[in-house]
């Protein structure tokens, strides 16, 4: 008459040792920098070409060139990176939540598959994932006999969404696990169904806890968007390269131009990291 213990509320698949890795490192590193870092980078960028081209007396000219290209690099380049990051975040979050809930499913099979997908995309190099997606997906899709062509950057978005998805999945799983088991028991004793318990009791309690790591991954994702340039998508890095070519490939342009790109990313991600750390501290106090 023995039957398996089907009363246990949660039996997570044991996670790998990677749990010890603190995924908030990026935000901690960025967020604890002094705001003056931005000016320090500026200063270095100013001094570098000045020294480099002091002999030729052309110190000012690289900045003239940069000044001319700036609006183009921001609007056509960096904002495109931001767009890519947003789309990846939306897709990655949606898919990641589903996958994370899959990881705590009561069905063994769903749990195992979700865990496998999560670990696979979480522990693979982003660029490799990106390459595979770019090469594996066709350039066109036939829906009801009509052929649709879609640009390469859409595939890049899909490729970057996958590791984001996997990391969101871990955030969701970890947050749910962080709610004491006794909350599940109390809900069970009150005759809540499992879904009611999850959506009405557990998730509302850990929702806030998911926000800082989620934002942290957004910052990481944003900084990873230049990867798409390797695959021929015209993001800010590719456009910068093209701009330098258009300016006759002069070597003294390299630092100011790419330095400018660096500043753009820093200026965008730094506030996010600061906010992430603030929220982390704020939400850490309450259970």
């Amino acid at each position: 008459m023995t039957k398996p213990n089907n009363f246990a509320v949660l039996k997570p698949t044991p996670s790998s040792a990677s749990l010890q890795y603190d995924p908030m490192t990026v935000s901690r590193f960025l967020g604890t920098m002094s705001p003056w870092t931005l000016f320090a980078i500026f200063a270095v960028l100013l001094i570098w070409p000045t020294i480099a081209s002091a002999q030729s007396g052309e110190a000012v000219r690289p900045f003239n060139a940069l000044w001319r290209w700036m609006p183009f690099l921001i609007t056509k380049g960096f904002l495109f990176n931001v767009l890519i990051s947003f789309l990846c975040l939306v897709i990655g979050t949606g898919a990641g939540v589903v996958l994370g809930l899959g990881q705590i499913s009561q069905r063994r099979f769903i749990r195992a598959v979700s865990w496998l997908i999560t670990q696979l995309f979480r522990n693979s190099p982003w660029l490799v994932i990106l390459f595979i997606v770019m090469l594996a997906l066709p350039y066109e899709m036939t829906i009801f006999g009509e052929v649709y062509y879609y640009p390469a950057w859409i595939k890049a978005v899909l490729g970057l969404s996958l590791p984001v998805m996997a990391n969101i999945s871990e955030i969701v799983r970890g947050a749910i696990r962080s709610v004491p088991n006794t909350q599940w028991e109390a809900s069970e004793a009150l005759a809540f169904t499992r879904n009611q318990t999850l959506w009405r009791i557990i998730l509302p309690q850990c929702f806030k806890r998911m926000i800082p790591p989620w934002m942290n991954w957004y910052a990481i994702l944003t900084m990873a968007t230049p990867l798409v340039s390797i695959l021929g998508v015209d993001d800010v890095v590719n456009l910068t390269r093209q701009a330098i070519v258009a300016e006759n490939n002069r070597p003294e342009l390299l630092m100011p131009f790419f330095g400018f790109v660096l500043i753009l990313f820093f200026a965008y991600c730094y506030p996010i990291a600061r906010l992430t750390l603030r929220l982390e501290r704020k939400f850490a106090v309450k259970l």
Binding site: M1, N6, F7, A186, E188, L190, A191, F192, Q196
Partner: protein, 252 residues
Amino acid sequence: MTTSAPWTPDQPIVSLRDVYKSFGSLEVLKGINIDIMKGEVICIIGPSGSGKSTLIRCINALNDIQKGSIKVEGQEVHTDKLNKLELRKKIGMVFQQYNLFPHKTALQNVMMAPLLVLKEDKASTEKRARELLAKVRLADKEDAYPGELSGGQQQRVAIARSLAMQPDIMLFDEVTAALDPETVKEVLLTIKELAAEGMTCILVTHEMGFAREVADHIYFTDRGVIVEHGAPETFFDNAQDERTKLFLSQIL
């Protein structure tokens, strides 16, 4: 749920027969037999680790069992066909650590289950929830979050939360063990009133004075078996078993 002979109030409302339970190779319950009649109050006492919590958690199927039979209002709990939700609607449970929902106010904690599980309408649920909070003397704490309440207050909200489901049976698992002596009294008073109203109560407790006062029957468990049981007077004043005597001498 299996429908054998229909249950009538002259039969035990909860009946355990030869219940065995083990966690892996650790045998925790080794042949437990208990009968509880409707309106009865029983107390289970015994040393730590003797399986008291496990025992009462089996009654509302928070733990499964390996062998034996548990019947609640005539319906078998130890079966694959068990409708757990129906069982748990009949049985309220209060935990040592209160386990209130921290993101909800006291009133919301009490209202949640009737709204979501019994699908009752909001107005009548709210009315009853307020009455219950008043009954446990917390009418002025309706909008407080659990984090803003003392242990004793939280525990009384937890009792109200269970009562809101209008259960036939209440399980209490050392509900005063985490409280300081001052607040223990408030909670015991609440339980006493409940018992006086005729609620069937199964209590695990270390409060011997309380057990003596409120219980109809005392069960003493040690290492997974019921060593001795009886009415409070006989049990406390006339214990026969050596283990019981030792335990009582240590605790009283």
